[in-house]
Symmetry: C2
Subunit: 254 residues, 2 copies
């Protein structure tokens, strides 16, 4: 049996009562450690709570899961995934391969940044857009697709959620993201992303040092954020949304 266990956004304390019971009964516990960043000490806390070793998995381990599948045929294996377990394709691929090998797979949904980010800021869920990932650019890779997706959301009057890239253990800063987005505007732009445009920077949501901050692109050029960051670009918010945002987000001085 293989359990895909969503851990939500707050580390061990956002495991559900049911997930907690399943982990107590598991023979083997893995921890997927590359699609997000958990609060510090999560692995230590898990090991002490469940009195067994918790093995972190890299991308290559999840993409070559023969060992995990073999263990799941013989015993109860649980893989803990930060956030919701099924929003990244890689986990559905594992689920498929395990099922194809005759393993019974159970999934346990949990909170995802995709819905939580909109909710916390006060923006309406029915005006959300699918998440856009902003990768670290390099000389030969500066993806126009990010700009195109944002343009499309603006055209459709939807709020853009931009998930900032992670290199192992380190998230892209808000200031870096703002720089990349303005650079995209320079290269491909049609005047959408000006320095006066408002954005909401969301850092370490649910962690003890979470920050939800609103300001212009200009005011964010020196704002770092936290360990794992995302941005929402509100698009023509309604009066209610403006009221909510101004109560629920801290304002960054210009």
């Amino acid at each position: 049996m293989l359990n895909l266990i969503g851990m939500g956004l707050r580390g061990v304390q956002s495991l559900t009562i049911q997930e907690d019971e399943i982990l107590k009964r598991s023979h083997r516990i893995y921890f997927e450690a590359y699609t997000s960043i958990a609060p510090e000490n999560t692995i230590n806390e898990l090991e002490s709570r469940y009195s067994r070793s918790v093995k972190p998995l890299a991308r290559i381990d999840v993409e070559n899961p023969e060992e995990i599948i073999k263990e799941s045929l013989d015993g109860i294996v649980s893989l803990i995934i930060v956030g919701d377990p099924l929003t990244a394709t890689t986990h559905n691929q594992l689920r498929l391969e395990a099922q194809n090998s005759g393993v019974e797979v159970k999934c346990y949904e949990n909170a995802s940044i995709i819905t939580a980010a909109f909710g916390y800021t006060g923006l309406f869920t029915y005006r959300m857009s699918p998440p856009v990932s902003l990768p670290f650019p390099h000389e030969k890779f500066f993806p126009r697709s990010v700009y195109d997706k944002i343009s499309k959301n603006i055209e459709d009057r939807r709020h853009s959620l931009i998930l900032l890239d992670l290199s192992p253990g380190k998230g892209m800063k808000i200031s870096e993201a703002v720089k990349y987005l303005l650079e995209m505007e320079n290269r491909f732009g049609t005047g959408l992303l000006t320095e006066d445009r408002e954005l909401i920077a969301i850092s370490d949501l649910g962690h003890s040092d979470e920050k939800i901050v609103m300001g212009t692109f200009r005011s964010m050029t020196s704002y770092e954020g936290g360990k794992i960051n995302c941005i929402i670009l509100p698009e023509r918010p309604t009066e209610d949304e403006v009221r909510f945002m101004s109560m629920f987000c801290r304002k960054l001085p210009l």
Copy 2:
């Protein structure tokens, strides 16, 4: 202090470890009972787990929260909300009013049908669309907007998530929804929703009797679903999505 506690999709067992601790410390526990349907016996289970009475709230109580706000000024009040606490505007309105009255408000995100539905079926999150609500129609109200939103998603090659209406305690059946959608096609249609079109019917996700079933509009005309239902209309799924869907959804015979 007012805590907005997301309960996720599975009743008491999908409360998080942290939420469980907060509820143990709460002087007053309310349960919001009109934006979703919890598994049967949820209130009884909550009352026995926390050894105090749990008061269900109707829409009118949440929209006129003077009493709740007054209690939150004096003690620890927790409001449990099925799914994620912040995806419905009504809860952000309560949060705003409480903050404006000087109450400290804390929110605890949890799983939402909006992300879970896409994940469970194997469809890619970055091709999701904002949820569309399908209300019970009546003679003078047969909303074209639902059809227009679906059309827009089809045009954008995005999967449509359609949340089926609730009247108190009773969800719209899949067969009813299919009938309403085909009727919309008749009245406003441009040939998008044919009887051969595939849909995924998701019922009571996370409950012990959850069902995720794939079939054509035609095959669903006599399929009831469960107590709380939603539909996904996959739009030109990729090869990977087709592989996932066919492993993760049960096929309904034609």
